[in-house]
């Protein structure tokens, strides 16, 4: 299994190498591994510290100081079969794209050493993987559209994205569909023709099922819409908390789900597929780690305007420096552009289940509907 630490590392490469891959999404730091990184470290980085299997590879991106230290810890203490550092540029320009394409080739070469796929087939398989992932991304984009139209709760949309991540880890065949909530042992795959079709069929079934279940708020058109932004949404508890507090979440600008799936890789050109991968991944909706001027502010402003949100909830994992700085830029930028209120929430895994967070979210809702409480007596 290849565990990916960041939305900037393409799934396509391990898939093409014949290795199951999953974005590392954990339930929190393991108490037994607490001593490896200090407690005043981002919980996502701390959660990444665990004993992986001998055959597992962990691919850590150059996301931030904390993830670099996570890479050091994993490699120094030999906590995985292999630990690979993916050097993702922080800027998006032609030189950065060329550089990243070379970096991805190095990653592919490393994976080919351990993967099941023959090396000479890699290029062809990469194109298959890119096309397959494009289809999956399109399916998930539809899911986020449904959430933004309030036909599906954001909790369910995000859960779907997490389930798809798990499906990619297991890569079911048509004969052996896997339950995303209970995937069982992962296995290498041969990326046979039609395998993506089976996967996409399964995703479509999951979407259909999610839509068929009644939504608690879809009938109530008076509920206020908000968006969520941040570096990494640690788990679903925050979205659940926000929805339980009486707000509708219409977009979740976090590396899971939106920024991982809201783009396509151009596979029709004759260009080097690594270049196209690098180009698409660096051009996608930027993460706070990137230096792309005001692009994040404009993007959030557009999302907020398009979906008619009345407030933005910014989530910063506790001790995540990137999020702390990004929040200041976002808050200032959005206030300059249109005075959109922004609520900052900091926390750890499961923070949505705490009273302090619920109080803040409810107070934010009361603030947004303030006039309604006073004047409409709602």
């Amino acid at each position: 299994m290849v565990y990916l630490s960041c939305s900037y590392i393409p799934y396509e490469i391990p898939l093409a190498a014949g290795m199951p891959a999953t974005r590392g999404i954990f339930e929190g730091p393991l108490p037994t591994m607490e001593g490896y990184l200090p407690r005043d470290f981002c919980p996502y980085a701390r959660a990444f510290i665990r004993q992986y299997g001998d055959k597992d590879m962990v691919a850590i991106a150059e996301s931030c100081d904390a993830m670099r230290r996570a890479y050091d810890v994993l490699s120094y203490w030999n906590l995985a079969g292999a630990v690979y550092f993916v050097d993702v540029p922080r800027t998006y320009d032609p030189e950065a794209v060329s550089f990243y394409a070379e970096e991805l080739k190095g990653f592919a070469s490393k994976l080919s050493d351990s993967g099941t796929a023959p090396r000479d087939e890699f290029s062809e398989r990469l194109t298959v993987a890119i096309n397959g992932m494009n289809q999956i991304r399109k399916e998930l984009s539809c899911v986020f559209d449904l959430a933004s139209k309030r036909q599906l709760s954001a909790v369910k949309a995000t859960q779907l994205a997490i389930n798809v991540n798990q499906l990619l880890a297991c890569f079911p065949s048509a004969e052996d569909p896997l339950d995303p909530l209970d995937p069982g042992p992962s296995h290498t795959h041969n990326l046979a023709p039609g395998m993506f079709d089976a996967l996409i069929e399964q995703i479509e079934r999951m979407i259909g099922q999610a839509l068929s279940e009644s939504s608690p708020f879809s009938q109530d058109r008076d509920r206020i819409s908000v968006g969520i932004s941040g570096t990494c949404l640690l788990d679903l508890s925050l979205i659940e908390c926000i929805e339980n507090a009486g707000l509708d979440v219409v977009f979740v600008d976090s590396c899971i789900p939106l920024r991982t799936y809201d783009f396509v890789v151009d596979s029709k050109t004759t260009c080097d597929p690594f270049y196209m991968l690098a180009e698409a991944y660096l051009r996608k909706a930027p993460c706070p780690r990137m230096f792309q001027g005001k692009e994040r502010i404009w993007r959030l402003y557009e999302l907020a305007s398009d979906y008619g949100v009345r407030g933005l909830i910014y989530f910063a994992p506790k001790f995540c420096d990137q999020a702390y700085y990004d929040f200041i830029e976002i808050r200032h930028g959005l206030r300059s552009l249109g005075r959109l209120p922004v609520l900052l929430l900091e926390g750890q895994y499961g923070m949505g289940r705490t009273g302090q967070v619920l109080t803040r979210v409810e107070a934010f809702r009361e603030m947004l509907e303030g006039t309604q409480i006073l004047k409409a007596g709602k």
């Binding site: 302090q356 109080t359 409810e362 107070a363 603030m367 006039t371």
Partner: protein
């Protein structure tokens, strides 16, 4: 018993539970007791005391709004509203020109900016431990062998504040011990402690913006030392209304009264 609409606002805080009873929007009585382990029972006791004072029973109540960190535990509550909104409303009712509310409770602090209608325009809450809150001051008073009620007097007696850098209870406690061992006057230490709490609040206050009148609510509002330090740091008079400690409960009751009025109109 007078005819009319009786509304209770109840604020279940970490240290104290406060209740306010209104009759047709007018303040009738106030009651306060320490918060016990059973939040619902404490709230119930508070409400019973309010009712008993006026010779009422639960059946006479038109509406109950609960607030505070234990608001969801109050079973008789008709509506829960956060303490941020309630303190805002309560403070505006107690001080009609309130623009900024600083609420320091037992375990947290909040700064709330109000708009011209008295609605919450922005707010910020401290996110850490009990640093710089009521509990912090209690521990320090205990260490200095003095009462919180003496803080104001001692603040004025101090010629110069001691330099206390931290509002972390552990760090500040060792600073206090060190200052005492050097023979520093307790009054100077108390003024230093009040300054440290005010310094900590200053960043929060400026995040939301200073809009006069500045009103202080919550348990620590009764601490004159902290109020004096805040006034000095903000170069601004800080108003502490008589019922400042019960502002949250009062705000809850006012919102409850408005909801009853709406219901009757419809």
């Amino acid at each position: 018993m007078k005819a009319g609409s009786y509304v209770v606002g109840i604020d279940v805080g970490s240290s104290a539970t406060k209740g306010v009873l209104l009759l047709d929007g007018q303040l009738l009585s106030v009651f306060m007791l320490p918060t016990g382990t059973d939040l619902n029972a404490t709230a119930g006791e508070c409400i019973q005391n309010l009712l008993r004072t006026e010779g009422l029973t639960e059946n006479d109540l038109s509406y109950t709004v609960s607030t505070g960190y234990g608001r969801a535990q109050v079973k008789v509550s008709d509506r829960t509203i956060t303490e941020i909104t309630c303190h805002g409303r309560g403070a505006r009712a107690l001080a009609p020109r309130a623009g900024l509310v600083i609420d320091i409770g037992g375990q947290d602090s909040k700064v709330i900016r109000l708009d011209e209608d008295g609605m919450v325009a922005d707010f910020v809450m401290n996110d850490k431990c009990a640093a710089g809150t009521g509990r912090f001051l209690e521990v320090m008073a205990e260490r200095l062998g003095t009462s919180l009620l003496d803080f104001g007097r001692m603040w004025k007696e101090a010629r110069k504040p001691a330099n206390i850098s931290s509002t972390c209870t552990v760090f500040a406690e060792s600073e206090v011990i060190s200052l005492l061992s050097k023979g520093m006057e307790p009054s100077a230490i108390i003024r230093g402690l009040c300054d440290a709490v005010a310094d900590r609040l200053l960043g929060m206050v400026h995040r939301v913006g200073v809009i006069p009148d500045v009103v202080m609510t919550g348990g620590v509002s009764k601490n004159r030392g902290v109020r004096l330090s805040l006034e000095k740091k903000l170069s601004q008079k800080v108003i502490v209304p008589d019922l400042s400690q019960c502002a949250g409960a009062y705000g809850a009751a006012i919102i409850g009264h408005e909801l009853v009025m709406r219901r009757q109109q419809h």
